[in-house]
């Protein structure tokens, strides 16, 4: 018998403080596996957001920076321009990236900054109690649209991959969903691809990962993964949007 799965080395030993069934730490693990496999733990800096993943700096063994809400792409720009050989990645939620940070992500992408962005889209503001996010679906309830998102009052959800794909700067943009065995494989591959693109100097890479929020969606973990498949994927189609 050989061990075929264990905790990656680039994660600290700390227990994750996420809710039961939350996909955040699945993605954290995949990032850590990527760092292990590419052997870059001493050559990488991660930039964590404001949101449920605000304590990500406690889970990674590499250097980390805590950025102000939405500003991670700007912080990454400052860091990467200073240390171009460092593998610089940001980890951002939908409020962080698509609301307050909308300008920063567009311009980092437009500049073709050679960074990797891991974008966690769970259609809600988890940390603060389940308010509407830029990616909340029409009809989906939240604490700030309690009768369901109404296009007239609240506008429409934002498709980040499609929007950034109109720019010439990005080299790789893909949307994935770790909701099945195949989805887990695709998600890990996409994350690793975004890091490999940076190492090869190809320019801005973003992976949008459709994730669950069992707590704010008021579902069990398994129900929440099904909800991603049945409700989010039709609005946020999976696939590759840019591949240069």
């Amino acid at each position: 018998m050989q061990k075929v799965f264990e905790r990656p080395k680039s994660l600290t030993d700390l227990d994750f403080s996420y809710c039961p069934g939350c996909a955040h730490s699945i993605v954290h693990r995949m990032i850590a596996e990527t760092i292990d496999e590419l052997e870059i733990v001493g050559d990488t800096v991660g930039i964590c957001p404001v949101g449920c993943a605000v304590f990500m700096y406690d889970y990674m063994t590499c250097d980390m920076i805590e950025a102000a809400h939405g500003r991670a792409p700007a912080v990454a720009t400052g860091l990467k321009r200073m240390l171009p050989d460092m593998i610089v990645w940001t980890y951002q939620g939908d409020g962080d990236l698509a609301s307050i940070g909308a300008a920063e992500i567009i311009h980092a992408a437009a500049r073709g900054e050679n960074i990797s962005v891991i974008f966690i889209n769970n259609a809600t503001y988890g940390m603060t109690g389940g308010q509407m996010a830029p990616t909340t679906l029409l009809g989906q309830r939240s604490t700030t649209c309690p009768t369901g998102r109404d296009a007239v009052v609240n506008g429409y959800p934002i498709r980040v991959c499609e929007m950034l794909a109109t720019l010439d700067g990005p080299s790789y943009i893909e949307r994935v969903a770790p909701t099945s065995a195949a989805g887990l494989v695709k998600t890990k591959k996409a994350i690793k691809r975004s890091f490999e693109n940076q190492i090869a100097g190809r320019g801005f890479a973003l992976v949008e990962i459709l994730c669950n929020c069992p707590t704010q969606w008021k579902m069990t973990p398994i129900e929440s993964l099904k909800w991603v498949d049945e409700n989010m994927v039709p609005i946020f189609p999976l696939g590759v949007f840019v591949d240069k």
């Binding site: 799965f5 264990e6 994660l11 398994i222």
Partner: protein
């Protein structure tokens, strides 16, 4: 590690890391995992390999585990180790 001749894989679930989310139960293609009746120290009922159910000591997964590690890959808390 043991091994009946038929067994391809084996898992070990960290009882204290598990938060009882049940994703592994649903994702295991061979139904090797169930939820325990008792609680861990944080108040969660953790997942256990099916052969544990009703026993007080660890053992193989009743011969059905193939070591595919899907349970480990969906576990958000990295509570599962896998051998093949």
């Amino acid at each position: 590690m043991s091994g009946g001749a038929l067994e391809l894989g084996e898992i070990k679930i960290d009882r204290e890391r598990c938060k009882g989310c049940e994703l592994c139960v649903h994702f295991c293609p061979k139904d090797c995992i169930v939820m325990d009746e008792s609680y861990n120290s944080r108040g969660y009922r953790p997942a256990i390999p099916i052969s544990w159910a009703g026993t007080s000591r660890p053992g193989p997964t009743d011969g059905k585990c193939t070591g595919c590690a899907i349970c480990a890959r969906i576990c958000p808390d990295i509570a599962i180790e896998v051998w093949r």
